[in-house]
């Protein structure tokens, strides 16, 4: 199963809106909270529509619009979205109204838009697209689930052009609650300082990454998703190692064919040790990178990693500050393995290959 990437639209805490500038300078943050750099939405959303939209909904609709435009696709054959938390801002607004108003005077707008599938649904309404529309909500593997569904659909019909996305937002309340349970590092000097502390927690982030994927090979495709797999709760490192080996071999590749590994290292010492052990076992001599200092930690951050990988494959350029070992690609980068795991529970592998 594979799919070519024909278009991208990405809003993140980095300057990822205009891909012509890739990789650009890393945007620096001096705290533990990375917020998206938002574009001018007026190009994609009418003011009368915008007034009801939460920040994330605007990000999703704009990124989808940019992605469709980039791929020169007017009407996708499917809209498949992955999100960990859905529309948090509207959910919080609705729940706060319930409490503040003693369960009375509930207004419809935030309730309507508080569901997890709001982004996918809103894009469909705006496009008048009544085709397949699904949102996957599954913790840190929400994007991979959406990608897997896209690959299955494309296997059945190569001509389908699917709008695939990973999106999550960081609200004040969520940041505070997650902070109280120790999700975010308190002693950090900024995003580029992420891996320099032997402590728990990470930095908070958010993003909206959209892709148009299709089974049709075109000369101007960016790259291709060559596979995705998910692995739940390994009982030992041997099991994890076998999972990674088998995934790569099943795609007709050997370990040495992987030119770059992009890991989900996020500064949390327990979680990062899992990556380090796998790196030592499998990728000791392979250029290995991380990306969460660029976008922060959020449930669908692996969609940002996919965008990063796609851009590296397309341009053969990469940010200098992503590498965590001394190896850098010595030749063309043709195969990138994205390895993301959460608490050694949900492990996800995505293979990106050059066209």
């Amino acid at each position: 199963m594979e799919a070519y990437i024909r278009g991208i639209g990405n809003i993140s805490p980095q300057n990822s809106w205009d891909n012509a500038d890739f990789p650009g300078e890393t945007v620096l943050y001096d705290n533990n909270r990375l917020k998206c750099i938002e574009p001018d939405y007026k190009e994609f959303i009418k003011p009368i529509q915008m007034r009801r939209m939460s920040r994330t909904l605007k990000m999703g609709v704009a990124a989808a619009g940019k992605c469709l435009r980039d791929a020169k696709v007017e009407m996708p054959d499917a809209i498949i979205v992955g999100t960990g938390l859905g529309m948090m801002q509207d959910t919080e607004k609705f729940l706060t109204a319930i409490i503040d108003n003693d369960e009375k005077f509930l207004t419809p707008t935030s309730f309507i838009q508080s569901t997890h599938n709001t982004v996918g649904a809103h894009i469909a309404v705006m496009l008048k697209c009544n085709k397949y529309n699904l949102t996957y909500v599954h913790d840190s593997i929400s994007f991979e689930e959406a990608l897997l569904d896209s690959l299955i659909r494309i296997k059945e019909d190569h001509s389908e052009k699917i709008l695939l996305a990973g999106i999550d937002e960081l609200t004040d309340d969520y940041f505070t609650i997650a902070n109280n349970v120790g999700f975010w590092k308190k002693d950090i000097n900024g995003n580029t300082d992420l891996l320099n502390h032997n402590s728990s927690g990470s930095i908070a982030g958010e993003g909206a990454s959209f892709f148009i994927v299709s089974g049709e090979e075109q000369p101007d495709n960016y790259a291709r998703f060559a596979g995705v797999d998910i692995f739940y709760k390994p009982t030992s490192d041997d099991e994890t190692e076998n999972f990674i080996r088998e995934f790569i071999n099943s795609r007709g590749l050997e370990l040495q064919d992987i030119d770059l590994v992009i890991t989900g290292m996020n500064g949390d010492m327990v979680g990062d040790n899992v990556y380090k052990r796998m790196q030592k076992r499998l990728f000791d001599k392979t250029p290995t990178a991380y990306y969460k200092h660029l976008c922060g930690e959020y449930y669908t951050s692996s969609a940002f990693a996919a965008w990063l990988g796609v851009m590296i494959l397309k341009t053969q350029r990469y940010p200098d500050d992503i590498f965590i070992n001394d190896h850098k690609p010595s030749g063309p980068v043709n195969n990138i393995l994205i390895y993301n795991q959460n608490n050694n529970t949900n492990h996800a592998l995505t293979l990106l290959s050059a066209c």
Binding site: I48, R51, R52, N101, F105, T107, P108
Partner: protein, 84 residues
Amino acid sequence: MEELIQKLKVEIIEVLNLEEMEPEDIDSDDPLFGEGLGLDSIDALELIVLLEKNYGIRIEDPKDGRKIFFSVRTMAEYITENQK
């Protein structure tokens, strides 16, 4: 009445998120729905809640809504007549 109309305009802008709009941009006698301000059915629900929450007025018969919410002035008149 004029004071209430001004207050209503501010509240409408707030609850309907009419960004970039000022109270003076809303004509007191222009239709709120359709060709005037261009509001829709979700806005109607927001206005019903506004009347109940801010003025303690509950619209019992939905058919009355068309008349009550025709313009800011008709809203203000209905509030004046029905507020306890």
